[in-house]
């Protein structure tokens, strides 16, 4: 056991954690937005719109995240037309390609989580709102969305942890996130166990924090209060 290496690699890995956290937070925010839109589309009465939303979530949940990143990073650059548009400023950066892939991926899972949350809201609550003369818009924003968020908290907490693990794939498109730096140190020192303990410890710590924050929120917004 090379304690010295563990100590010396800790600051490097901690620095890389910042990139991991940036990737995670930006893609979660965009993904939540995408997820909400597609959950609403999914519940639309128009069969084409709801099929389209279902197709989106089916494709992104049925293929590995790695394929999605590679299509966006390596694949889209191949289209000549894209290279001449403004979009190319974003798509030539591995950082933004990774974020687009993560956001689309987590958006697909989030839309499923939110859809099932919307569907499990008791119709009585909406009827109660209607009988009080509240407009549909207000019912949606003030009744349905808060209840749906509460319902989906446990599942969404799992999704955040899965996404945090997913950001490790950014290392495959040259980004030096926590896993990327860990791999670099392993391949230069050939001490996989030591680096795994330090990097894995940082990941576990983040999992622990996320888990507890979600638990706290669940308690805070529980129905019994």
């Amino acid at each position: 056991m090379d304690i010295e290496l563990m100590v010396s690699s800790f600051p490097k890995l901690l620095g890389a954690t910042v990139i991991t956290l940036k990737l995670l937070s930006v893609s979660l925010v965009i993904g939540l937005f995408i997820g909400l839109i597609f959950a609403i589309l999914r519940l639309n009465k128009n069969i084409f719109i709801s099929r389209f939303a279902y197709g989106y979530s089916y494709i992104f949940r049925g293929t590995p995240l790695l394929v999605q990143i590679f299509i966006i990073y390596f694949g889209l650059g191949q289209i000549e037309y894209l290279r001449s548009t403004v979009l190319w400023v974003i798509l030539k950066e591995p950082y933004w390609c990774a974020i687009i892939a993560f956001a689309l991926n987590t958006g697909a899972y989030t839309s499923e989580i939110l859809r099932s949350a919307f569907q499990t809201i008791k119709p009585g609550l909406i009827e109660a709102g209607k009988s009080l003369g509240i407009s549909n818009k207000i019912i949606f924003y003030k009744i349905q969305i808060p209840i749906a968020i509460r319902q989906s908290l446990p599942a969404y907490g799992n999704e955040i942890i899965l996404m945090m693990k997913g950001t490790s794939l950014a290392s495959t498109v040259t980004l030096m996130d926590l896993t990327g730096v860990a791999k670099y140190i392993i391949s230069t020192t050939f001490k996989p166990v030591e680096v795994f303990i330090v990097a894995g410890g940082i990941y576990l710590f983040m999992t622990f924090i996320i888990h507890n924050v979600i638990k706290y929120l669940e308690k805070k917004y529980s129905f019994s209060q």
Partner: protein, 230 residues
């Protein structure tokens, strides 16, 4: 389309064999995972605090650390570990571990952590009366487990195991980093030599979708079979 031709001119046959490789790795990993679950589920359910701790550390660490990191650990550390064990038995030659074994083993460890949780949940949700009834009938330990508990566990576990299978199948794409030629690796090679990454990665996505779709169909049949009595 000519890019997918079979034979020397296209990548059809290569991708076909790569798909078989993905299926083989996924099935092997799933079975290795069951083996891990078989060891760790009893430890989780045991009344001994120390055994609980061992099983809980396994599932917590594996489910809290990225799959890629576990793969790197085994890819770079696996050879060293095996050679160390071999040296204890007096074998000092260089041992190279096959990429298939490393890959299937690392995905298996990951899938095992998820399977353990599934089996634990399933066994815990079986009615206590079933255990007591088995005792009353005078069944021995094996009879109790194989005739009473296991069939009921399977019925409860299959829907969740199907999720584990989907995760395992998709995780196999990650072992392409170790050089094993499965769908992702083959697409990477084809994309590199034809300079057509968009086509090949999209085709890889289609192959994965096909695999997940077909396995869902199969699992649904299993689910019906195991719910016969209900």
């Amino acid at each position: 389309m000519e890019l997918l031709a079979f034979g020397d001119t296209g990548w059809g046959d290569e991708l076909f064999y790569a798909t078989l490789m993905t299926i083989a790795v996924a099935i092997t990993a799933m079975l290795i995972g069951f083996l891990f679950a078989l060891i760790f589920t009893p430890l989780k359910l045991s009344k001994n605090k120390f055994l609980n701790l061992i099983a809980n550390s396994y599932t917590t660490v594996i489910r809290g650390v990225p799959e890629l990191l576990v793969i790197y650990l085994l890819f770079f550390g696996g050879t060293g570990a095996v050679m160390y064990v071999a040296s204890i038995f007096g074998y000092n030659e260089y041992i190279e571990i096959n990429a298939f074994i490393t890959g299937a083993f690392s995905i298996g460890i990951i899938s095992g952590a998820y399977s353990t949780e599934v089996f634990r949940g399933a066994i815990q949700s079986i009615d206590k009366g079933q255990f007591e009834a088995a005792n009353v009938l005078g069944l021995n330990k094996f009879g109790k487990f194989f005739k009473i508990i296991l069939p009921q566990t399977l019925r409860l576990a299959i829907p969740n195991l199907s999720n584990v299978w989907q995760i395992t199948l998709k995780d196999t794409s990650l072992i392409s980093v170790t050089g094993l030629v499965e769908i992702m690796r083959q697409s990477y090679i084809a994309a590199g030599s034809t300079r057509d990454p968009l086509f090949f990665y999209s085709f890889a996505a289609v192959l994965y979708l096909l695999l997940t779709f077909l396995s869902m169909k199969l699992i649904n049949k299993l689910e019906v079979r195991y719910s016969r009595g209900y």
